[in-house]
């Protein structure tokens, strides 16, 4: 499990890539990946290499959403595999995030 980030040239878009299982063990790492990035306006969560998501990871995604401005947050989740997508769907996360 590892989390890597990259920023667009102007610093306004932060891409967070999560590899492997996204669960409680990545809590601190995930939080560190977006805090202390004041210039960021838009967040992209790339789940191309995310194999699994548990319910505590859902909570972490909500933490990020609130950090990014709650209902005004601009957070999108992309490239989910079918298992991950199913969990996001059951939890109605498409109402809160742009899921691509």
């Amino acid at each position: 499990m590892s989390i890597t980030t990259s920023k667009s040239a102007d610093g306004s878009v932060l891409t967070i890539r999560i590899q492997g299982r996204f669960d409680f063990s990545s809590h601190q790492e995930f939080r560190d990946s977006y805090e202390n990035n004041d210039s960021v306006k838009e967040y992209l969560i790339d789940m191309k290499d995310t194999t699994y998501l548990d319910s505590s990871a859902l909570g972490m995604l909500l933490l990020l959403r609130d950090f990014a401005g709650g209902d005004h947050a601009n957070v999108s989740i992309s490239n989910c595999n079918s298992d991950v997508k199913k969990i996001l769907t059951i939890s109605n996360f498409e109402q809160l995030f742009v899921i691509q």
């Binding site: 409680f24 809590h27 548990d54 933490l63 079918s82 298992d83 199913k86 939890s91 109605n92 996360f93």
Partner: protein, 569 residues
């Protein structure tokens, strides 16, 4: 000189001539056997087996010509040079000596130097003949051996890369091997869930190198399909295997489909093969272009499995082929080409005859032309589920049907093991041995993961998810979790799993008990997905996935039932 001592038969009815010749030959170091006439010569030949025969032409009882014929016959494949001794000098008589099977003649009176030279020359020829013969025998033996080995290898190959369910009613196929082994691979297998996987592959090259690559493909294809793996899992595994075993520059162009008769759709992955065709009963033709590299090219982490998906109605047909069809050449070296191929679809209005029409057109086109690639083509027709006639898995390989479907287990984790060991992969592995259940591995994993983490975090470690109401709370929660894990001693979590067959699917019951005090669960059924909070999503997730889900006793016991049926996700 090069004359090793030889056994030489001298046949002459004239005693003095025979004596003289015997003396000369003996003096040259050879062993001599003598005979007085043709009959005697045959007898001596049989008993002493001489290497060279010196034979007088005219003798009583049987003349030299007849004796020479019989000796040649007796010698069989062995070369026994016969040199005629004759006082005749006319060309006709000398020619007669050779016609009778003699190899040369020597005129009387004898010249010992010429005699010695001839014996040496014929001995060389005899040795050369013997060498040639033993080499020929060696080659013949090697060839027999090779053919026999190929036959055995072919049997092994055919057993591994068998036709699967290619003979099903809704499949038509053409496989024309260019040599003993085929460079094309065509595999079909019914899935435990009732659908069908069909795989067409074309290796670079054909014959043995291709056949070697085809074996692991077939193993993986049938093995994984039988166990209920998804098409993309099968492809990923095949790609990784080929990448690992094939030398650089060797790869396998392929197209694989997953046809579901229950849902009426098809999923297609295609890499490196000519475009496949979906031909609808109403005449619509959809070309499906390759959008991947062939199998065995990309490393596992760069391999991608995007697929096309199409709905299909009964009577719709899916066609795929190797480039051998499009690149088939006629006598003038022209290629059959896509235009001619699609022309067949325009011309043939009866779609059930399309397959045989294409086959016929290609055949006619090639005519006397040379075949330079394997021709492989397959048509899979969408039919209604009952028509496949194997909904209950009747066509499945035995190995797929024999799987544990009726069993129970109990696994208890205690003390520090709770901290150090994650039981989920092990348990999931056991559960996925149930034939057909693998399709639901994601959901089963989620259920197991949520149940065990609840038992551990809330039951054993007594962590309150109410803590998770702020970012700082989240951090505190996980800090406490780590701290309390260190202090575990007598605490335990017991996971009981039970699987029973139910119709074509089954019922998976999971019961998790922990050593904690439990909790008041009277209100838990009201738990709703409330996305204003950072926690509490586990239970709604579980109630959605499970047919039955409840806490019992003091709340330290939870029971969940996951009922599954093939293709009704």
């Amino acid at each position: 000189m090069d004359s090793e001592p030889l056994k030489i038969l001298i046949a002459d009815d004239n005693d003095s001539d025979r004596m003289i010749l015997q003396a000369i030959v003996r003096k040259q170091g050879h062993e001599v056997v003598t005979a007085r006439d043709g009959v005697d010569a045959i007898e001596k030949f049989k008993t002493t087996v001489p290497k060279i025969v010196l034979m007088d032409a005219l003798m009583p009882r049987m003349d030299g010509f007849e004796a020479a014929r019989l000796i040649k016959q007796l010698a069989g494949e062995e070369l026994v040079p016969i040199i005629f001794l004759t006082s005749l000098t006319d060309a006709e008589s000398l020619a007669k000596c050779l016609d009778a099977g003699g190899d040369d003649f020597l005129s009387k009176p004898y010249n010992r130097i010429i005699l010695q030279a001839k014996i040496n020359a014929f001995n060389r020829m005899r040795v050369m003949h013997r060498t040639l013969q033993s080499q020929r025998d060696q080659i013949a033996e090697n060839n027999d051996h090779l053919l026999q080995e190929q036959q055995v290898a072919k049997t092994v190959f055919d057993n591994v890369a068998h036709l699967g369910c290619l003979n099903a009613k809704n499949i038509k196929h053409l496989l024309s091997p260019l040599s003993v082994f085929n460079g094309d691979v065509l595999l079909a297998c019914q899935k435990p869930s009732g659908g069908m996987h069909v795989f067409l592959g074309d290796f670079t090259g054909h014959g043995l190198p291709a056949a070697i690559g085809a074996m692991p493909i077939a193993e993986i294809f049938y093995g994984m399909t039988n166990k209920g793996f998804a098409m993309t899992d099968v492809l990923r595994e095949v790609n990784q295997k080929l990448k690992q075993i094939l030398p650089v520059g060797f790869f396998c162009c392929a197209c694989m489909i997953d046809m579901s008769f229950a849902r009426g759709d098809v999923e297609v992955w295609i890499g490196g093969l000519p475009e496949a065709v979906l031909y609808r009963a109403d005449g619509e033709l959809i070309k499906i272009q390759s959008n991947h590299l062939p199998l065995g090219v990309l490393a596992a982490n760069r391999f991608t499995t995007e697929t096309y998906k199409y709905e299909m109605s009964p009577g719709d047909r899916f066609f795929m082929w190797s480039d051998g069809i499009i690149e088939a050449r006629n006598v003038n070296g022209e290629m059959f080409g896509e235009d001619r191929l699609y022309q067949v679809y325009d011309d043939q209005k009866i779609s059930s005859k399309l397959f045989s029409s294409i086959k016929q057109e290609v055949h006619n086109f090639i005519g006397e032309g040379e075949r330079d690639d394997d021709l492989t083509m397959v048509e899979v027709e969408m039919v209604s589920e009952d028509e496949v006639g194997m909904g209950s898995g009747g066509h499945l390989a035995k190995s797929a049907l024999i799987g544990p479907v009726n069993w129970a287990l109990c696994y208890e984790l205690r003390g520090q093991t709770l901290k150090d060991f994650n039981p989920l992969p092990l348990l999931l592995h056991i559960i996925m041995e149930v034939p057909g259940l693998r399709l639901f591995s994601g959901q089963v994993y989620t259920i197991l993961a949520e149940l065990t983490s609840n038992a551990l975090e809330h039951g054993v470690l007594r962590l309150d998810s109410g803590l998770k109401s702020s970012p700082e709370g989240f951090t505190k929660y996980y800090a406490l979790r780590a701290q309390r894990l260190e202090q575990l001693e007598k605490q335990w979590v017991r996971i009981s799993i039970d699987h029973l067959p139910e119709g074509l699917g089954g019922l998976l019951s999971i019961k998790v008990v922990d050593s904690g005090d439990g909790f008041d669960y009277s209100n838990f059924k009201q738990a709703k997905m409330n996305n204003n909070r950072y926690s509490g999503r586990g239970i709604p997730l579980l109630t959605t996935l499970c047919r039955h889900f409840e806490y019992v006793g003091t709340g330290n016991t939870v029971e969940a039932e996951f009922a599954w049926q093939p293709e009704k996700q």
